[in-house]
């Protein structure tokens, strides 16, 4: 295809992505190195019958004008990145000096908003992704073993947790897990503690969010594995059996190697999606116990005072996180492409 034709064909998508993805990234980076103007303070002398007093007051007009002239605020360099709300270098150094053990140091870190969000996001990503893959694989093998006639309805119901809006799906679970809901009551009976509330405890909240995560994304892994199982070479399986391979050896040496590329694909998609975990934290109102990077940005942006530079700094740090997470895949794709081209 000629360069010019190619250009016109991709033009609309390219412009959309340039204007609404690439430029906003630049804008986010610029915002993150600026902070809002401080209010202009003037000193006025009030002279009354009892002598003169000096008072400081905020000059509203001058503040407005300054903000209008330079809407970005004042240049602050990397200040926002190192403040208490983000990398908190001073606090981390202080915690490092006073803490005696790793556990204590970790405890200090989890009190800093950025590390709290980072900690949960990473834990969520690296616990939910493997569990999703395992559960999805088990469902796929089970569905593949039953008669063809019931597979349609099975797939239909399996798709539900994944297709339903994350905010809505997590709300549905949240209401059931409420102390007055059916799962909440069942748990209280099982444990024998009528005051048990999942919402009130940090470890239980983490577990609940992760259970939701696995529930939500297992169907995706299931569908991909199920499709993969349909294409396993039957001849290879039979010849392995003739060669004396038992069931386990057939799975281990024929089926699993066939499914390996699919696992890479599922892991890649799941890492990307789990890293942005956000909606369940809103639905479960779990922010007191667990926050994520996306939630931290949302929290800065919402409400009366929009803290744009703080949100921007967290956004940049999140994007760097995504890049690190994705880099092995990118390097691999690059090698594959070069091999194909060569």
């Amino acid at each position: 295809m000629k360069h010019k034709t190619f250009f016109w064909f991709v033009f609309p998508s390219a412009v959309a992505m340039l204007l609404f993805i690439a430029l906003p990234i630049v804008s986010v980076i610029i915002q993150s190195v600026h902070v809002a103007h401080e209010q202009v303070v003037v000193t006025v002398e009030n002279c009354g019958p009892f002598g003169c007093t000096e008072a400081t007051m905020i000059d509203q007009e001058a503040t407005e004008e300054l903000r209008r002239e330079k809407p970005l605020g004042q240049f602050a360099g990397l200040e926002t990145y190192f403040d208490r709300g983000h990398l908190a270098t001073t606090e981390v150094a202080a915690a490092w000096r006073v803490s005696e053990s790793w556990g204590e140091f970790g405890g200090y870190l989890m009190n800093l908003p950025f590390y709290k969000a980072m900690g949960f996001t990473l834990a969520y990503t690296f616990i939910v992704t493997p569990l999703t893959i395992i559960l999805g694989f088990m469902i796929a093998v089970a569905v593949n073993s039953v008669t063809r006639r019931v597979r349609g309805p099975l797939i239909f119901f399996s798709l539900l947790p994944m297709i339903v809006t994350p905010l809505v799906g997590s709300l549905i679970l949240y209401w059931m897990i409420d102390a007055r809901g059916i799962i909440g009551t069942a748990l209280q009976m099982l444990v024998g503690d009528p005051t048990l509330s999942v919402k009130a405890s940090t470890p239980l909240t983490w577990i609940m969010l992760m259970v939701y995560g696995v529930w939500h994304s297992a169907p995706f892994a299931f569908i991909v594995y199920y499709a993969g199982l349909q294409t396993v070479n039957q001849d290879t399986l039979e010849s392995a059996m003739i060669d004396g391979a038992n069931r386990w050896e057939r799975i281990r040496y024929v089926v699993l190697p066939h499914l390996m590329p699919l696992t890479t694909f599922i892991a890649l998609i799941q890492l990307m999606d789990n890293f942005r975990v956000f909606e369940p934290i809103v639905s479960f109102s779990a922010s007191a116990h667990a926050t994520s990077l996306s939630w931290a940005i949302y929290n800065d942006l919402g409400g009366e005072t929009r803290q744009l530079s703080s949100a921007a700094a967290t956004s940049v740090l999140t994007i760097i996180g995504v890049a690190i997470l994705l880099s092995p895949v990118l390097v691999r794709t690059w090698r594959d492409f070069n091999r194909k081209a060569a």
Partner: protein, 293 residues
């Protein structure tokens, strides 16, 4: 056609069936439970006294006289103007899907036919964009949208969602177009068509299965989005998902959590119907690119 390699022992089969029954319970029960509960009063949906109240609607009978009540739906749709959110969501989804697919088919087709190295870079950049959480972009939008008075309007949300959708749409359609033989459009070009005519007369008639599948996923993205729509739409133009989230803030304190339950059921119903009709396309879309790779 059960080949011998697939034969399983009885205990293993029973285990598989038990596991599937358990999974079906996990996957479907929460939805059925919430659907049933949405026709009750709050005292039954959250019953401290006895969980069986939620099934038989004991408090509902006391409070309203029947075992079922539409109070939650009335409250959400009429009192809280949920219909407006439904209308907004329909508009957003319609336009996002149409525009995404128009841009995506053109771009995806070009990416599948060009053999130069820059296609690779284009796709890789799209992959990186796909990996970024959309909310990281929002703080980039807000100052500009405020400045130019674009904030809060539906068209703004639509174009933003289209852009966020593009990387995924491009990847998916690119892999669909790769499967359409090159000979098809190249022979049209030998017969004297230019590139666009070949696309228009030869490719468009055969591309629909791929386009429908991709369209379903763009629809889901627009329908399910919370991060972007919650931040850039004002109260008037709110779509369903942020509206449900705002119910939580305001109605939970008023004791009208049933409004939110009714709204949640209303928002789930279209998805339910969509899976019913398009199950095959959704499954093929999820596996496209994965199985071949």
């Amino acid at each position: 056609m059960a080949s011998k390699a697939q034969a399983r022992s009885l205990p293993l089969r029973l285990f598989a069936i038990a596991f599937l029954v358990l999974w079906m319970l996990l996957a479907a029960f929460p939805f059925l439970w919430t659907l049933w509960g949405s026709f009750k009063v709050e005292g039954d949906f959250f019953s401290k006294a006895d969980w069986a109240y939620a099934i038989f609607g004991t408090r509902t009978q006391v409070e309203t006289g029947g075992a079922f009540t539409g109070q939650g739906y009335y409250g959400a749709w009429v009192q809280e103007d949920f219909w407006r959110a439904v209308l907004n969501t329909s508009l957003v989804c319609l336009f996002v899907v149409t525009i995404s697919l128009t841009f995506g088919t053109l771009g995806g087709y070009a990416l599948s036919r060009s053999t130069y190295r820059y296609t690779f870079w284009f796709l890789i950049i799209a992959l990186i964009f796909r990996a970024m959480p959309p909310i990281t972009l929002v703080s980039g939008y807000l100052p500009v949208f405020f400045q130019w008075n674009l904030w809060g309007h539906l068209p703004t949300a639509i174009i933003v969602l289209v852009a966020i959708n593009q990387p995924f749409t491009l990847w998916m359609l690119h892999s669909f177009f790769k499967n359409i033989p090159k000979d098809l459009d190249e022979s049209a070009m030998v017969d004297g068509c230019n590139r666009f005519q070949a696309f228009r007369h030869v490719i468009i008639p055969v591309m629909w299965p791929g386009v429908i599948t991709t369209g379903l996923f763009s629809f889901l993205l627009a329908y399910n989005d919370f991060a972007v729509t919650a931040m850039i739409l004002d109260q008037q133009n709110q779509t369903m998902v942020p509206k449900i989230a705002s119910f939580l803030g305001t109605t939970q304190t008023k004791g009208n959590v049933m409004f939110a339950v009714a709204a949640v059921v209303s928002a789930t119903a279209p998805l339910f119907i969509m899976i019913m009709f398009f199950q095959r396309q959704i499954v093929s879309g999820l596996t496209a690119g994965a199985v071949k790779g």
